[in-house]
């Protein structure tokens, strides 16, 4: 079995009226399914003021700094303030990436081109990947997200769902055609993964679970989606671990040591 790094998970107190897992519970699930670490995003920060949610996410992730890798989010509708908030977050090396959910955050990238260009530029300066929810009209179609990769070729842009339900084939072709566009295999199914790897290339597809937005069962389900695609061992390692480790620069900047286990945290 290859190593596993989850490039798409959530860590928040709640999603609207539904309570979410604590950091200790999240790490307990990572332990059960042998996932080494997970990139974690806010949920309520997509609906509310980003700054306190970025701070809260960092506090939660810092309970397990060796396992939970926070990604910041900002609200590009705020213009210059969004760019400054991103600079503030990325100045902290704990934040390894940026997450946007344009559908929930209520913007289409084209509506805010100048701000998005600045944001993409800041992310590139920090060599931080920028992951966008994709596969959902009207603000998050896969084509809309791919346009961002064209605007800023120096920025690593990740399709957060590799096309999701209905955009898998466009996602595969766009990942193939744009050197700085990657796909997070988070939601599509094994038959889709075979196509994404064949067309987009195994070195450009990363495993993600969306775990944390739903309960623990989502993590093994999403791992099954990868394992049942029948990839060869090298491609499997790329998808489940190596590509994410490369984008996160884990060789250059390993995760800090942990201070506790999930059981010690009193789950």
């Amino acid at each position: 079995m290859t190593r596993i790094l989850d490039f798409h998970a959530h860590l928040d107190e709640r999603w609207l009226h539904v309570r979410c897992d604590t950091p200790a519970h999240a790490v307990d699930a990572l332990d059960r399914f042998e996932v080494e670490a997970a990139c974690v995003f806010t949920i309520m920060g997509f609906y509310e003021d980003c700054r306190p949610h970025n701070d809260a996410l960092l506090r939660r992730a810092d309970e397990f700094p060796d396992r939970l890798i926070p990604f910041a989010t900002v609200d590009p509708k705020q213009g210059r303030a969004a760019v400054e908030e991103l600079q503030r977050c990325l100045a902290n090396p704990r934040f390894r990436g940026v997450k946007f959910h344009p559908w929930l955050q209520a913007f289409a990238p084209n509506m805010l081109r100048d701000t998005m260009l600045e944001i993409l530029h800041v992310a590139a300066q920090h060599r931080a990947p920028v992951l966008f929810h994709d596969g959902t009209p009207p603000y998050s179609t896969t084509y809309q997200i791919a346009e961002l990769a064209r605007w800023s070729p120096e920025t690593t842009v990740v399709l957060g769902h590799a096309g999701s339900a209905d955009y898998v084939n466009p996602a595969a072709e766009l990942i193939r055609d744009l050197p700085n566009l990657y796909g997070c295999f988070c939601g599509p199914r094994p038959g889709d993964l075979v196509h994404l790897v064949e067309v987009g290339g195994a070195e450009k597809i990363l495993f993600g679970s969306d775990f944390g937005a739903a309960g623990w069962r989502l993590l093994p389900e999403r791992i099954d989606n990868v394992l049942e695609a029948g990839l060869d061992p090298r491609d499997l390692d790329n998808v489940l671990y190596a590509n994410a480790a490369r984008l996160l620069k884990l060789d250059e900047h390993p995760l800090p040591p942990g201070t506790q286990t999930s059981s010690e945290a009193g789950r």
Partner: protein, 242 residues
Amino acid sequence: MGRPLKTIDGHAMLGDETYLSLRPAELLRRMDAAGVDLAIARPMGAGLVVDHRAGNDLVLTAGPRIRGLASVNPWWGPAALEELLRCRDQGAVGMFLDPLRQGFFPTESIVAPLLERAAQYGWPVMIRTGAYIFADVLAVVEIARRFPSVAFIAGFGGYADMWFEMSEAIGSVGNLYLDASMLWGDGIDEIVRRHGAARVLFGSAEPRNRYRVCLRTLDRLELSDAERDAIYYGNAERLFHL
């Protein structure tokens, strides 16, 4: 927790569509490997969208362990009804419609004659759901209200981003059922807990999904033996009159 007495796949796909391809012999091989006794299959690709005779023949002549859902494009008009009659005589056990691929809202008047025919034949109607245009879960609820004698199955269960409509949709009408082939475990579990296992059918969405993924997803739910029997085969036997 053992496997149920038998397993019926309520939603497999045969044919070629973009990057997906599956023939009856390969579906049977996958069924055998997974311990699936019977599959309900529908056409995909050109056989679903334009070449109905070829698509329907593929699923209706696939052998005794694969039973077919007939599909026609409502825009065909009277020719669609003739094709449904032909399919019924060949042993079709229901109808499949894909509003997104075939280009219609389920509530459009061109669809009503097909649903009247399904009611006449005692067929359930599976409708692909999950895309915002055409394949809207709530549009299927609307026609379920208009045709209360027809059992409607929400194909793909609102996957991906209309999943949050499914539980309320099933609760709002008594003749709507979940195809569990693409929905995640928590989503399936919520529907079982709120509305009962009688409203959920095991499905595989082969070749897009895989039997092993779908079976393990159900295995992780804390289902009683009665719930498992209903989901794995009982509901399919009842709805498809197997």
